[in-house]
Assembly symmetry: C2
Homo-oligomer: 248 residues x 2
Protein backbone atom coordinates (compact mmCIF):
# COMPACT_ATOMS: atom_id res chain seq x y z
CA UNK A 1 0.00 0.00 0.00
CA UNK A 2 2.65 2.60 0.82
CA UNK A 3 3.91 4.47 -2.19
CA UNK A 4 7.49 5.61 -2.19
CA UNK A 5 7.68 8.93 -3.96
CA UNK A 6 10.82 9.61 -5.91
CA UNK A 7 13.35 11.77 -4.16
CA UNK A 8 13.22 15.12 -5.88
CA UNK A 9 16.26 16.54 -7.54
CA UNK A 10 14.93 20.00 -8.05
CA UNK A 11 12.45 22.60 -6.99
CA UNK A 12 9.23 22.50 -8.96
CA UNK A 13 8.82 26.24 -9.29
CA UNK A 14 12.30 26.50 -10.71
CA UNK A 15 11.79 23.48 -12.92
CA UNK A 16 8.68 24.99 -14.44
CA UNK A 17 10.58 27.97 -15.80
CA UNK A 18 11.63 28.07 -19.44
CA UNK A 19 15.21 27.01 -19.95
CA UNK A 20 16.72 30.46 -20.37
CA UNK A 21 14.97 31.96 -17.36
CA UNK A 22 15.84 28.97 -15.26
CA UNK A 23 19.51 29.24 -16.06
CA UNK A 24 19.55 32.90 -15.19
CA UNK A 25 17.92 32.19 -11.87
CA UNK A 26 20.21 29.28 -11.03
CA UNK A 27 23.25 31.41 -11.74
CA UNK A 28 22.34 33.48 -8.69
CA UNK A 29 21.59 30.58 -6.37
CA UNK A 30 23.74 28.56 -4.09
CA UNK A 31 22.76 25.17 -2.79
CA UNK A 32 22.64 24.93 0.99
CA UNK A 33 21.64 22.39 3.57
CA UNK A 34 18.39 22.66 5.51
CA UNK A 35 19.10 21.62 9.06
CA UNK A 36 16.33 20.19 11.21
CA UNK A 37 14.96 22.76 13.71
CA UNK A 38 16.87 25.60 12.09
CA UNK A 39 15.04 28.94 12.18
CA UNK A 40 15.28 30.71 8.85
CA UNK A 41 12.99 33.68 9.50
CA UNK A 42 11.51 35.42 12.48
CA UNK A 43 8.12 37.10 12.19
CA UNK A 44 8.52 40.85 11.92
CA UNK A 45 12.17 40.69 10.94
CA UNK A 46 13.82 41.19 7.59
CA UNK A 47 14.21 38.41 5.08
CA UNK A 48 17.87 37.96 4.19
CA UNK A 49 17.49 35.12 1.70
CA UNK A 50 14.82 33.33 -0.22
CA UNK A 51 14.84 29.54 -0.48
CA UNK A 52 13.67 27.10 -3.09
CA UNK A 53 13.55 23.78 -1.22
CA UNK A 54 14.66 20.70 -3.14
CA UNK A 55 14.38 18.21 -0.36
CA UNK A 56 13.10 18.81 3.13
CA UNK A 57 10.40 21.23 4.16
CA UNK A 58 9.76 24.28 6.24
CA UNK A 59 6.93 25.31 8.54
CA UNK A 60 5.47 28.77 8.55
CA UNK A 61 4.51 29.62 12.08
CA UNK A 62 2.61 32.60 13.37
CA UNK A 63 3.47 33.58 16.94
CA UNK A 64 0.86 35.55 18.83
CA UNK A 65 0.54 37.24 22.14
CA UNK A 66 0.71 34.90 25.09
CA UNK A 67 3.54 32.77 23.72
CA UNK A 68 1.27 30.63 21.58
CA UNK A 69 2.23 29.59 18.08
CA UNK A 70 0.33 28.11 15.20
CA UNK A 71 1.58 26.57 12.01
CA UNK A 72 -0.16 28.34 9.14
CA UNK A 73 1.69 26.93 6.17
CA UNK A 74 4.18 24.43 4.86
CA UNK A 75 6.77 24.89 2.13
CA UNK A 76 8.45 22.06 0.28
CA UNK A 77 9.86 21.59 -3.18
CA UNK A 78 6.56 22.70 -4.66
CA UNK A 79 7.13 26.22 -3.39
CA UNK A 80 9.38 28.96 -2.18
CA UNK A 81 10.18 30.46 1.18
CA UNK A 82 10.08 34.23 1.25
CA UNK A 83 7.27 34.52 -1.26
CA UNK A 84 5.87 37.70 0.31
CA UNK A 85 8.93 39.53 -1.01
CA UNK A 86 7.20 39.70 -4.37
CA UNK A 87 4.88 42.20 -2.71
CA UNK A 88 7.80 44.53 -2.11
CA UNK A 89 7.85 44.26 1.67
CA UNK A 90 11.01 42.91 3.22
CA UNK A 91 9.50 41.75 6.50
CA UNK A 92 8.52 38.18 7.18
CA UNK A 93 4.96 37.71 8.46
CA UNK A 94 5.91 34.32 9.95
CA UNK A 95 8.58 32.38 11.68
CA UNK A 96 10.11 29.84 9.33
CA UNK A 97 11.33 26.62 10.88
CA UNK A 98 13.02 23.72 9.14
CA UNK A 99 10.95 20.70 9.91
CA UNK A 100 12.39 18.17 7.54
CA UNK A 101 16.13 18.20 6.82
CA UNK A 102 17.28 18.40 3.23
CA UNK A 103 18.68 21.04 0.97
CA UNK A 104 17.55 24.05 -0.96
CA UNK A 105 18.59 26.64 -3.44
CA UNK A 106 19.23 29.94 -1.72
CA UNK A 107 19.41 33.45 -3.08
CA UNK A 108 19.99 36.78 -1.41
CA UNK A 109 16.95 39.01 -1.21
CA UNK A 110 18.54 41.69 -3.34
CA UNK A 111 19.53 39.39 -6.16
CA UNK A 112 16.14 37.74 -6.00
CA UNK A 113 14.40 41.07 -6.41
CA UNK A 114 16.73 42.02 -9.20
CA UNK A 115 16.07 38.77 -10.98
CA UNK A 116 12.33 39.00 -10.39
CA UNK A 117 12.10 42.42 -11.96
CA UNK A 118 13.61 41.10 -15.17
CA UNK A 119 11.91 37.77 -15.35
CA UNK A 120 8.27 37.83 -16.31
CA UNK A 121 7.94 34.07 -16.28
CA UNK A 122 9.22 33.95 -12.74
CA UNK A 123 6.74 36.63 -11.71
CA UNK A 124 3.93 34.61 -13.17
CA UNK A 125 4.98 31.41 -11.40
CA UNK A 126 5.37 33.12 -8.08
CA UNK A 127 2.10 34.97 -8.33
CA UNK A 128 0.31 31.70 -8.76
CA UNK A 129 2.18 30.17 -5.90
CA UNK A 130 1.33 33.07 -3.62
CA UNK A 131 -2.30 32.77 -4.59
CA UNK A 132 -2.28 29.11 -3.62
CA UNK A 133 -0.55 29.90 -0.36
CA UNK A 134 -3.19 32.46 0.54
CA UNK A 135 -5.97 30.08 -0.27
CA UNK A 136 -4.45 27.31 1.82
CA UNK A 137 -3.87 29.71 4.65
CA UNK A 138 -7.56 30.49 4.73
CA UNK A 139 -8.40 26.82 4.52
CA UNK A 140 -6.10 26.06 7.42
CA UNK A 141 -7.64 28.82 9.50
CA UNK A 142 -11.12 27.38 9.12
CA UNK A 143 -9.95 23.79 9.52
CA UNK A 144 -8.12 24.62 12.71
CA UNK A 145 -11.24 26.20 14.08
CA UNK A 146 -13.75 23.48 13.32
CA UNK A 147 -12.14 20.11 12.91
CA UNK A 148 -11.10 17.49 15.43
CA UNK A 149 -7.52 16.80 16.30
CA UNK A 150 -7.50 13.38 14.66
CA UNK A 151 -8.70 14.71 11.32
CA UNK A 152 -6.30 17.62 11.48
CA UNK A 153 -3.42 15.32 12.30
CA UNK A 154 -4.28 13.13 9.33
CA UNK A 155 -4.32 16.15 7.08
CA UNK A 156 -1.04 17.36 8.45
CA UNK A 157 0.59 13.98 7.91
CA UNK A 158 -0.64 13.94 4.34
CA UNK A 159 0.69 17.41 3.65
CA UNK A 160 3.97 16.45 5.22
CA UNK A 161 4.08 13.23 3.26
CA UNK A 162 3.68 15.16 0.04
CA UNK A 163 6.70 17.25 0.89
CA UNK A 164 8.85 14.63 2.58
CA UNK A 165 9.09 12.36 -0.47
CA UNK A 166 9.43 9.40 1.84
CA UNK A 167 6.97 7.25 3.73
CA UNK A 168 8.92 7.62 6.94
CA UNK A 169 9.80 10.76 8.80
CA UNK A 170 10.79 11.79 12.25
CA UNK A 171 8.48 13.82 14.50
CA UNK A 172 7.90 13.47 18.18
CA UNK A 173 4.40 13.88 19.47
CA UNK A 174 5.32 17.02 21.31
CA UNK A 175 6.52 18.54 18.07
CA UNK A 176 3.31 17.72 16.25
CA UNK A 177 1.35 19.11 19.17
CA UNK A 178 3.20 22.36 18.76
CA UNK A 179 2.46 22.47 15.05
CA UNK A 180 -1.24 21.81 15.42
CA UNK A 181 -1.57 24.04 18.48
CA UNK A 182 -2.82 21.31 20.80
CA UNK A 183 -1.48 19.45 23.83
CA UNK A 184 0.78 16.48 23.41
CA UNK A 185 -1.84 14.22 24.96
CA UNK A 186 -4.21 15.14 22.18
CA UNK A 187 -1.66 13.91 19.67
CA UNK A 188 -1.08 10.74 21.67
CA UNK A 189 -4.72 9.84 21.42
CA UNK A 190 -5.14 10.80 17.80
CA UNK A 191 -1.92 9.07 16.73
CA UNK A 192 -2.91 6.00 18.67
CA UNK A 193 -6.23 5.91 16.92
CA UNK A 194 -4.57 6.24 13.52
CA UNK A 195 -2.18 3.46 14.42
CA UNK A 196 -4.94 1.14 15.52
CA UNK A 197 -6.64 1.77 12.21
CA UNK A 198 -3.35 0.67 10.59
CA UNK A 199 -3.05 3.97 8.77
CA UNK A 200 0.29 4.86 10.29
CA UNK A 201 2.81 3.31 12.59
CA UNK A 202 5.15 5.16 14.84
CA UNK A 203 7.76 4.43 17.38
CA UNK A 204 9.73 7.01 19.28
CA UNK A 205 9.28 9.68 16.67
CA UNK A 206 9.67 7.47 13.61
CA UNK A 207 6.41 7.80 11.76
CA UNK A 208 5.55 5.61 8.79
CA UNK A 209 2.61 6.15 6.50
CA UNK A 210 0.99 2.76 5.95
CA UNK A 211 -2.20 3.67 4.13
CA UNK A 212 -2.46 7.01 2.40
CA UNK A 213 -5.93 6.42 1.07
CA UNK A 214 -7.15 5.58 4.54
CA UNK A 215 -5.57 8.70 5.91
CA UNK A 216 -7.34 10.77 3.32
CA UNK A 217 -10.59 9.22 4.43
CA UNK A 218 -10.17 10.19 8.08
CA UNK A 219 -8.72 13.61 7.24
CA UNK A 220 -11.29 16.31 7.18
CA UNK A 221 -11.66 16.99 3.49
CA UNK A 222 -9.55 20.09 3.84
CA UNK A 223 -6.73 18.08 2.35
CA UNK A 224 -8.76 17.37 -0.75
CA UNK A 225 -9.83 21.00 -0.82
CA UNK A 226 -6.18 22.02 -0.90
CA UNK A 227 -5.58 19.75 -3.86
CA UNK A 228 -8.50 21.23 -5.70
CA UNK A 229 -7.09 24.71 -5.41
CA UNK A 230 -4.22 23.56 -7.57
CA UNK A 231 -6.51 22.03 -10.14
CA UNK A 232 -8.85 24.95 -10.19
CA UNK A 233 -6.34 27.61 -11.04
CA UNK A 234 -4.79 25.45 -13.70
CA UNK A 235 -7.89 25.59 -15.85
CA UNK A 236 -7.15 28.05 -18.57
CA UNK A 237 -9.96 30.46 -17.86
CA UNK A 238 -9.03 30.68 -14.21
CA UNK A 239 -5.50 31.69 -14.85
CA UNK A 240 -5.22 34.95 -16.69
CA UNK A 241 -2.61 34.58 -19.35
CA UNK A 242 -2.01 38.18 -20.15
CA UNK A 243 0.70 39.75 -18.06
CA UNK A 244 -0.93 41.76 -15.34
CA UNK A 245 2.40 42.97 -14.08
CA UNK A 246 5.15 44.74 -15.85
CA UNK A 247 4.76 48.29 -17.02
CA UNK A 248 4.22 47.48 -20.68
Amino acid sequence: MPSTPAIPTTNRLVAALPHKEREKLLANCEQIELIFTEVLYRAGEKIPHVYFPIEGFISLIRPIEGGENLEVGLTGNEGMLGITLILGVNVSPFDALVQGAGFALRMTTSSFLHELAQNIELQRELHRYLYISISQLAQTAACTRFHMVEARLARWLLMTHDRAHSDTFHFTQIFMAYMLGVRRVGITKAANSLQQQKLISYHRGEITILNRTGLEAVSCGCYQADQEIYKRINISEGHLHHAVQGGV
Copy 2:
Protein backbone atom coordinates in the same frame (compact mmCIF):
# COMPACT_ATOMS: atom_id res chain seq x y z
CA MET B 1 -15.49 58.64 25.63
CA PRO B 2 -16.86 57.48 22.29
CA SER B 3 -15.13 59.02 19.35
CA THR B 4 -17.14 59.70 16.24
CA PRO B 5 -14.94 59.12 13.24
CA ALA B 6 -15.62 61.29 10.24
CA ILE B 7 -17.68 59.68 7.52
CA PRO B 8 -15.30 58.91 4.71
CA THR B 9 -15.76 60.39 1.29
CA THR B 10 -13.28 58.22 -0.47
CA ASN B 11 -11.34 55.02 -0.48
CA ARG B 12 -7.94 55.33 1.11
CA LEU B 13 -6.07 53.22 -1.41
CA VAL B 14 -7.44 55.36 -4.19
CA ALA B 15 -6.79 58.56 -2.26
CA ALA B 16 -3.14 57.63 -1.75
CA LEU B 17 -2.48 57.55 -5.47
CA PRO B 18 -0.81 60.52 -7.19
CA HIS B 19 -3.30 62.83 -8.85
CA LYS B 20 -2.76 61.65 -12.40
CA GLU B 21 -2.96 57.95 -11.58
CA ARG B 22 -6.00 58.50 -9.42
CA GLU B 23 -7.87 60.28 -12.16
CA LYS B 24 -7.10 57.51 -14.61
CA LEU B 25 -8.41 54.94 -12.19
CA LEU B 26 -11.55 56.87 -11.34
CA ALA B 27 -12.36 57.24 -15.00
CA ASN B 28 -12.95 53.49 -15.12
CA CYS B 29 -14.98 53.25 -11.94
CA GLU B 30 -18.64 53.56 -11.24
CA GLN B 31 -20.07 54.26 -7.83
CA ILE B 32 -22.47 51.62 -6.59
CA GLU B 33 -24.38 50.86 -3.44
CA LEU B 34 -23.33 48.13 -1.05
CA ILE B 35 -26.46 46.42 0.20
CA PHE B 36 -26.49 44.69 3.56
CA THR B 37 -26.19 40.88 3.26
CA GLU B 38 -25.42 41.08 -0.45
CA VAL B 39 -23.02 38.39 -1.67
CA LEU B 40 -20.40 39.86 -3.98
CA TYR B 41 -18.18 36.80 -4.49
CA ARG B 42 -18.46 33.07 -4.02
CA ALA B 43 -15.36 31.05 -3.15
CA GLY B 44 -14.08 29.21 -6.19
CA GLU B 45 -15.99 31.35 -8.66
CA LYS B 46 -14.78 34.09 -10.95
CA ILE B 47 -14.44 37.67 -9.86
CA PRO B 48 -16.52 39.91 -12.11
CA HIS B 49 -15.72 43.23 -10.46
CA VAL B 50 -13.33 44.71 -7.97
CA TYR B 51 -14.58 47.11 -5.31
CA PHE B 52 -13.01 50.01 -3.49
CA PRO B 53 -15.34 50.57 -0.53
CA ILE B 54 -15.99 54.14 0.49
CA GLU B 55 -18.48 53.51 3.19
CA GLY B 56 -19.63 50.18 4.49
CA PHE B 57 -17.58 47.02 4.74
CA ILE B 58 -17.35 43.50 3.50
CA SER B 59 -16.54 40.20 5.17
CA LEU B 60 -14.28 37.63 3.60
CA ILE B 61 -15.58 34.22 4.54
CA ARG B 62 -14.04 30.83 3.94
CA PRO B 63 -16.53 28.00 3.63
CA ILE B 64 -15.26 24.52 4.35
CA GLU B 65 -16.53 21.00 4.19
CA GLY B 66 -19.40 20.33 6.55
CA GLY B 67 -21.17 23.61 5.92
CA GLU B 68 -19.08 25.58 8.37
CA ASN B 69 -17.87 29.05 7.60
CA LEU B 70 -15.29 31.33 9.11
CA GLU B 71 -14.66 34.99 8.59
CA VAL B 72 -11.01 35.39 7.68
CA GLY B 73 -10.87 39.03 6.71
CA LEU B 74 -12.63 42.37 6.59
CA THR B 75 -12.48 45.00 3.90
CA GLY B 76 -13.46 48.61 4.37
CA ASN B 77 -12.39 51.92 2.90
CA GLU B 78 -8.80 51.12 3.83
CA GLY B 79 -8.71 48.34 1.25
CA MET B 80 -10.00 46.70 -1.83
CA LEU B 81 -12.13 43.68 -2.55
CA GLY B 82 -10.73 41.35 -5.19
CA ILE B 83 -7.13 41.99 -4.27
CA THR B 84 -6.02 38.49 -5.24
CA LEU B 85 -6.57 39.47 -8.86
CA ILE B 86 -3.20 41.18 -8.77
CA LEU B 87 -1.76 37.67 -8.68
CA GLY B 88 -3.27 36.93 -12.05
CA VAL B 89 -5.83 34.38 -10.91
CA ASN B 90 -9.45 35.19 -11.54
CA VAL B 91 -10.95 32.95 -8.86
CA SER B 92 -12.04 34.21 -5.49
CA PRO B 93 -10.60 32.25 -2.54
CA PHE B 94 -13.44 33.51 -0.31
CA ASP B 95 -17.06 34.37 -0.16
CA ALA B 96 -17.51 38.11 0.08
CA LEU B 97 -20.52 39.34 2.03
CA VAL B 98 -21.61 42.92 2.59
CA GLN B 99 -21.81 43.39 6.30
CA GLY B 100 -22.20 47.12 6.56
CA ALA B 101 -24.26 48.95 3.98
CA GLY B 102 -22.69 51.87 2.15
CA PHE B 103 -21.21 52.47 -1.24
CA ALA B 104 -18.11 51.68 -3.21
CA LEU B 105 -16.27 52.33 -6.41
CA ARG B 106 -16.61 49.39 -8.74
CA MET B 107 -14.57 48.37 -11.74
CA THR B 108 -14.81 45.42 -14.07
CA THR B 109 -12.06 42.86 -13.70
CA SER B 110 -10.79 43.42 -17.19
CA SER B 111 -10.51 47.16 -16.91
CA PHE B 112 -8.92 46.77 -13.51
CA LEU B 113 -6.26 44.47 -14.93
CA HIS B 114 -5.70 46.80 -17.82
CA GLU B 115 -5.32 49.74 -15.52
CA LEU B 116 -3.08 47.83 -13.14
CA ALA B 117 -0.66 46.86 -15.88
CA GLN B 118 -0.11 50.50 -16.73
CA ASN B 119 -0.08 51.95 -13.28
CA ILE B 120 3.05 51.29 -11.24
CA GLU B 121 1.86 53.37 -8.31
CA LEU B 122 -1.31 51.34 -8.11
CA GLN B 123 0.68 48.12 -8.19
CA ARG B 124 2.78 49.33 -5.32
CA GLU B 125 -0.23 50.31 -3.22
CA LEU B 126 -2.00 47.05 -3.83
CA HIS B 127 1.05 44.95 -3.13
CA ARG B 128 1.34 46.54 0.25
CA TYR B 129 -2.32 46.04 0.92
CA LEU B 130 -2.13 42.38 -0.04
CA TYR B 131 0.84 41.93 2.24
CA ILE B 132 -1.13 43.38 5.12
CA SER B 133 -4.10 41.19 4.30
CA ILE B 134 -1.96 38.08 4.39
CA SER B 135 -0.42 39.04 7.65
CA GLN B 136 -3.80 39.71 9.22
CA LEU B 137 -5.14 36.46 7.87
CA ALA B 138 -2.39 34.59 9.69
CA GLN B 139 -3.03 36.60 12.82
CA THR B 140 -6.72 35.78 12.66
CA ALA B 141 -5.99 32.10 12.20
CA ALA B 142 -3.93 31.94 15.36
CA CYS B 143 -6.29 34.20 17.31
CA THR B 144 -9.25 32.06 16.37
CA ARG B 145 -7.46 28.99 17.61
CA PHE B 146 -6.27 30.25 20.96
CA HIS B 147 -8.33 33.10 22.26
CA MET B 148 -11.60 33.18 24.12
CA VAL B 149 -14.84 34.30 22.55
CA GLU B 150 -15.06 37.48 24.60
CA ALA B 151 -11.61 38.68 23.54
CA ARG B 152 -12.27 37.76 19.93
CA LEU B 153 -15.58 39.56 19.98
CA ALA B 154 -13.90 42.67 21.34
CA ARG B 155 -11.32 42.52 18.58
CA TRP B 156 -13.97 42.02 15.98
CA LEU B 157 -15.98 44.99 17.23
CA LEU B 158 -12.87 47.15 17.11
CA MET B 159 -12.05 46.11 13.57
CA THR B 160 -15.62 46.73 12.58
CA HIS B 161 -15.64 50.07 14.32
CA ASP B 162 -12.58 51.12 12.34
CA ARG B 163 -14.42 50.40 9.12
CA ALA B 164 -17.90 51.50 10.08
CA HIS B 165 -16.95 55.11 10.77
CA SER B 166 -19.72 55.29 13.29
CA ASP B 167 -20.07 54.30 16.93
CA THR B 168 -23.32 52.50 16.25
CA PHE B 169 -23.95 49.62 13.92
CA HIS B 170 -26.44 46.89 13.41
CA PHE B 171 -25.59 43.22 14.01
CA THR B 172 -27.66 40.55 15.57
CA GLN B 173 -25.98 38.09 17.86
CA ILE B 174 -26.63 35.26 15.49
CA PHE B 175 -24.82 37.14 12.79
CA MET B 176 -21.78 37.77 14.95
CA ALA B 177 -21.81 34.13 15.98
CA TYR B 178 -21.61 33.19 12.34
CA MET B 179 -18.70 35.54 11.77
CA LEU B 180 -16.67 34.29 14.70
CA GLY B 181 -17.58 30.67 14.11
CA VAL B 182 -19.28 30.13 17.48
CA ARG B 183 -22.81 29.53 18.73
CA ARG B 184 -25.13 32.42 19.31
CA VAL B 185 -25.17 31.65 23.01
CA GLY B 186 -21.44 32.24 23.15
CA ILE B 187 -22.02 35.71 21.77
CA THR B 188 -24.85 36.32 24.22
CA LYS B 189 -22.55 35.68 27.14
CA ALA B 190 -19.60 37.61 25.76
CA ALA B 191 -21.72 40.57 24.69
CA ASN B 192 -23.42 40.60 28.04
CA SER B 193 -20.10 40.71 29.77
CA LEU B 194 -18.91 43.58 27.59
CA GLN B 195 -22.12 45.42 28.29
CA GLN B 196 -21.81 44.97 32.03
CA GLN B 197 -18.31 46.37 31.81
CA LYS B 198 -19.91 49.38 30.08
CA LEU B 199 -17.73 48.90 27.01
CA ILE B 200 -20.65 48.51 24.64
CA SER B 201 -24.40 48.69 24.75
CA TYR B 202 -26.77 46.85 22.51
CA HIS B 203 -30.43 46.38 21.98
CA ARG B 204 -32.01 44.22 19.37
CA GLY B 205 -29.05 44.40 17.08
CA GLU B 206 -28.16 48.05 17.61
CA ILE B 207 -24.65 47.99 18.99
CA THR B 208 -22.95 51.09 20.34
CA ILE B 209 -19.30 51.35 21.23
CA LEU B 210 -19.10 53.13 24.58
CA ASN B 211 -15.45 52.74 25.47
CA ARG B 212 -12.95 51.94 22.79
CA THR B 213 -9.96 51.96 25.08
CA GLY B 214 -11.66 49.51 27.38
CA LEU B 215 -12.47 47.26 24.47
CA GLU B 216 -8.86 47.27 23.42
CA ALA B 217 -7.93 46.18 26.91
CA VAL B 218 -10.20 43.13 26.89
CA SER B 219 -9.39 42.27 23.29
CA CYS B 220 -6.62 39.78 22.96
CA GLY B 221 -3.75 41.91 21.73
CA CYS B 222 -4.28 40.62 18.24
CA TYR B 223 -5.96 43.91 17.51
CA GLN B 224 -2.86 45.82 18.50
CA ALA B 225 -0.77 43.33 16.54
CA ASP B 226 -2.82 44.14 13.46
CA GLN B 227 -2.17 47.83 13.94
CA GLU B 228 1.54 47.23 14.24
CA ILE B 229 1.66 45.50 10.90
CA TYR B 230 0.66 48.78 9.34
CA LYS B 231 3.29 50.71 11.23
CA ARG B 232 6.00 48.17 10.59
CA ILE B 233 5.79 48.14 6.85
CA ASN B 234 5.64 51.89 6.74
CA ILE B 235 9.16 52.22 8.07
CA SER B 236 11.32 53.02 5.11
CA GLU B 237 13.62 50.06 5.37
CA GLY B 238 10.76 47.63 5.58
CA HIS B 239 9.14 48.79 2.39
CA LEU B 240 11.37 48.35 -0.60
CA HIS B 241 11.17 51.47 -2.65
CA HIS B 242 12.61 50.18 -5.84
CA ALA B 243 10.04 48.72 -8.18
CA VAL B 244 10.19 44.99 -7.90
CA GLN B 245 7.55 44.59 -10.54
CA GLY B 246 7.53 45.86 -14.04
CA GLY B 247 10.12 44.84 -16.58
CA VAL B 248 12.47 47.77 -15.95
